[in-house]
Point group: C2
Chain length 616, copies 2
């Protein structure tokens, strides 16, 4: 019974992954087919489409070959954008043939997994398997540590410093170090003191006037007075942490330097991001996936953001962009910016559908979307919601109260729209998006259940500590998890209690990311600082850190072409066959161990399912 | 009684400090005079003489104004160099009027402190005081944390990034990161493949031939194959750690790249050190005190080292040099390089006396010594010695066996020679040296007793954890301790168990240092990495890290002029009066707390001593 429910849960994730062009672990899929007495074939695999990085000499902002207008009609229904071929089918309520998820099925699937994680025997089984995975790795380490090291020593020209690493979770508004931001502000002031940069209460202000009003001399500014670094004061205080985004505690400076949509068209923000990108390009082997915000306050946000991107030429070969949508409907509602939750969803997603149906009229957004690889859902997960998400929950159009919908409600509706959008884009031969929410940083364990269904991969995942069943499911499905132990250390969990090392040992697909270098890091190389501290504190071997780096590339929204280049041409294969040690510096012994171990765990489930079905 | 023995111990340290021109905490001295009903005066203070850094435009290698030959005679006696005005006084055995320490007094003083640290009531008293110091700081933190922060925020233009920091303990042969060494070797090979760089078994070899014999292609070399980084394998294995100094496990590469005295006159080693120095100069606010080795195998080592220094122009304004003497008499003896321990001491110290008496004949050494600020004693402290140091121990001339003398024996004889040398140099108006041994990294607690008497300051001090009495004495005397938690983490003590944080809280004078960036660190800024990890893991406040940085400048061998510039003109004063917050970024609240707390602890002792003497 335990194995059957694990099997079902994996099938559920597979279903939602396929629908949304999310990735699903190939080995797991093979075992699932086996359990169903079917043959797995590579052709069944559903893969995301991600635009390859423009080659040298190609203009990344080129607006040619833009597809024609399909003249489709678009309507939001139950919080999900529906596509109609024309006005007639719209009237007949016959949408274009795309999979539209329905809340009821989803709620049933969700409740299946929810019930499962509370089931005693399932908990015991998963707990034991996880313990076994731990001990097995310990044994592997004792026996093969030196052999792994020997393998790595014999790899020419490749070591931890020149394997590719992706900072899989980083917020654009905090992607620079505190010192970098400080220097940038001072440098800017030297040349631009008299430039009008802000409109406040109807009055235009120069940079000098702004500093004057704050009673600060930019030359005397220090990282202390800038006060953007997290400290002891932020532990378990997400509210205090959020206010650290305001340099000198002043929202004015955030507005001027860290926003895309301001009086100077986000010029400073673009410039500092490009400085960060330049450092990554210099390092050659480091990439980042910064999050830019779309709030859903107004439908113009997308046009403004893509204009910013193209006007300031923000693209970098070492960056892929992710759109973060903060879960702050309640704030917009209380400020009367939106009438209901559906409107917020519409503001976020409808423009994307429009740009997909008619890119000719949204050329800038069309180009920008080439470099956007996915969506993130962000905010303080520890905020409690009174509402319990179920199939009886009000539809987004009916969500007119002041309360914020719960986490799962947000996730389902974001997933649903991304799913439909991906299918539409796939039809048109355009790139698809991955849903990569913040999940399990704090709050209810149910968050991790929602993400298990809806997410391609997640950020944080700390709370997997608390549920053996979910942890084991994330292992079996190899759901990538971008972890940020230094961020956690300042906000939710002491470094020494961080489960990253344990997750890595067990074989979960974990990567290292910085989250917010501005708030957490000290050195000029935040991602290296993150790796260095993990390696020092947990005494990780070279093979361990290179495995994490490899995971980060796998997890990332880099294109197929780039991944082939960084990991080896066979990277979609699991096990040693998919690993090019000369590129990844991960020992084949390690790859074989991981693959055999996963196959072993999956075969238990398959065998049990098969004998059960035979018996019945 | 407890207070009287603490008082005596402090007097003993003061005596040895004054004799050797070591520093002694001013506040402590004031209380000691008070207890003796005497008046303290600034004129009584004995201070080291350290050459100021040459100003811009001044040639640091200039060989002018070199003092005349004094024509003194020099003889080693009981392992200590004795100075005679001329051949006559030598024959009459009437040495020049300098303080010569004698082993018996030292042994008695040593045994006094040794007895004390084992005394029950003293242990209880010190343990309680230390606990009190901990709780008191905790209270201080709760009450004043925000006030300290506010003070720092109002300091213009000064933050943690631009306060001066000295890497107080770093070995020159490991002062570059592994990646830096790798790149340096590869770069060098590109231009110098055909250069003869090594003589092995009578045969001269080019760089190409060396790599050929090692079966390596420099282009394919990686940090993995270089294999100089400490890992899990080095924990509690100092032997394995020592062999990490050999790149690719090959002593040939160490000889070529990390030695001052080789076929290419140490050219590569000088070049890579100068690259490290260049990075420090670029950073502007970081300094280092690298250790260069003098072994005592032969009397020529000093000439060779100073020639190297001057020929390759190794001086940097951001570096001060320390000479490390490894405690490996046993190895030299077994290889028949020295007949007894006295010969080794003579090889180390006699050349210094000669250069001091007659700098004209040792011009290069004379110039080099301007930039040498002290001596270090290094090796694995966990190696046990069978011999128990006492006044019955054989004199160095009689130490002819194959056994290594114990730690305390080494320390006394190094101290004794440095002391006489310093007095001689002071007479001549030359710079003096500080004795700064490795101490308390491992091994017997007695090491820390010897260093309490003989050292200006120490490196490591981990074992103070184990002795409340010594820990309290190091606190009362404010003996600076250069700690390297990342090094300890790889060798002797897990990071989380490192006592640095606790020592800092109690008010011991601790600084942060890297020890061996080549073996331990990952980023391009090893000292910042050390600070970053400590700050992250222990959640240190800005005031904490700035206090550590200030301690590092105090502890260092930087000149009085430099310290005035970096800490403020009144830096020799204790308490807030000695602190220039605009330079150090240490809150005055913190300075006042430290000063009041130290005065409070000292006054207990003074009061007890006074009432005791009145009673008697």
């Amino acid at each position: 019974m335990v194995c059957i429910s694990l099997f079902k849960a994996l099938l559920i994730r597979e279903k939602y992954s396929k629908l949304a062009y999310h990735r699903f672990c190939r080995t797991t899929a093979q075992f699932l087919r086996n359990a169903e007495n079917m043959r797995w074939s590579e052709d069944d695999e559903v893969l995301p489409d991600i635009c390859p990085c423009p080659t040298d000499g190609e203009d990344p902002y080129r607006m040619e070959n833009i597809p024609e207008n399909l003249n489709y009609e678009l309507r939001m229904k139950d919080g999900i954008v529906h596509v109609y071929d024309n006005a007639e089918t719209l009237r007949a309520n016959k949408p274009h043939d795309l999979p539209y998820p329905d809340l009821e099925t989803f709620a049933i699937d969700l409740s299946h997994v929810l019930a499962m994680i509370a089931d005693g025997p399932t908990k015991t089984y998963c707990h034991r398997r996880l313990n076994f995975l731990c001990s097995k790795f310990y044994l592997h380490e004792m026996l093969n540590e030196m052999a792994e090291l020997k393998e790595l020593k014999s790899v020419p020209h490749r070591d931890f410093y020149n394997v590719r690493k992706v900072d899989t979770h980083i917020h654009a508004a905090a992607c620079m170090s505190q010192k970098h931001l400080l220097t940038f502000i001072q440098k800017t002031y030297e040349t631009d003191a008299d430039r009008v940069v802000l409109e406040k209460a109807g009055q235009k202000m120069t940079l000098q006037q702004v500093f004057h009003s704050l009673n600060k001399d930019p030359y005397d500014l220090t990282v202390d007075s800038l006060d953007v670094h997290a400290g002891r004061q932020t532990f378990h205080r997400f509210d205090k942490f959020n206010s650290k985004y305001n340099p000198v505690g002043a929202s004015e400076l955030r507005e001027i330097f860290l926003k895309t949509d301001n009086l100077i068209d986000g010029e400073y923000f673009a410039r500092i991001i490009k400085e960060v990108a330049h450092d990554l390009e210099e390092s050659k082997y480091q990439h980042a996936e910064p999050r830019l915000s779309i709030y859903g306050r107004s439908p113009d946000e997308w046009d403004s953001l893509s204009k910013w991107f193209i006007q300031h030429k923000v693209h970098s070969p070492n960056m892929r962009w992710i759109i973060q949508v903060p879960r702050i409907y309640d704030i917009f509602k209380s400020r009367k910016l939106v009438p209901n939750f559906a409107k917020m969803l519409e503001n976020v997603f409808l423009p994307l559908f429009e740009a997909t149906v008619n890119p000719q009229d949204h050329k800038e957004l069309h180009v920008f979307l080439k470099y956007v690889s996915g969506f993130d859902s962000v905010d303080d997960e520890s905020k409690h919601s009174d509402h319990m998400f179920s199939f009886r929950s009000p539809k987004p159009e009916q969500w007119t109260g002041d309360n914020n919908p719960p986490y799962s409600y947000y996730l389902f509706h974001m997933y649903a729209n991304i799913m439909v959008l991906n299918n539409l884009r796939k039809e048109r031969g355009l790139s698809t998006f991955q849903f990569r929410p913040h999940c399990g940083e704090a709050g209810s364990i149910t968050h991790l259940v929602s993400a298990f269904l809806t997410a391609d991969n997640i950020s944080h995942g700390l709370n997997l500590k608390k549920s053996p069943v979910l942890q084991y499911l994330y292992y079996l499905a190899q759901v990538p998890i971008a972890m940020s132990p230094l961020s956690n250390n300042s906000l939710f969990l002491e470094y020494s209690k961080n489960p990253l090392r344990e997750f890595l040992h067990k074989g979960l697909c974990v990567s290292l990311s910085t989250d917010d270098p501005m708030q957490f890091h000290y050195t000029k190389e935040p991602l290296m600082e993150e790796y260095a501290i993990a390696a020092q504190l947990w005494k990780l071997s070279t093979c361990d850190v290179c495995e994490i780096a490899r995971n980060s590339v796998l997890q990332s929204g880099l294109s197929h072409q780039e991944k082939k280049h960084f990991l080896g041409v066979n990277y979609p294969k699991d096990g040693p066959g998919g690993n090019d040690i000369r590129r990844t510096n991960v020992a084949q012994i390690r790859m074989a161990y991981r693959h055999e171990t996963l196959c072993n765990e999956l075969s238990f489930i398959v065998d049990a399912v098969k004998s059960e079905t035979m018996a019945s």
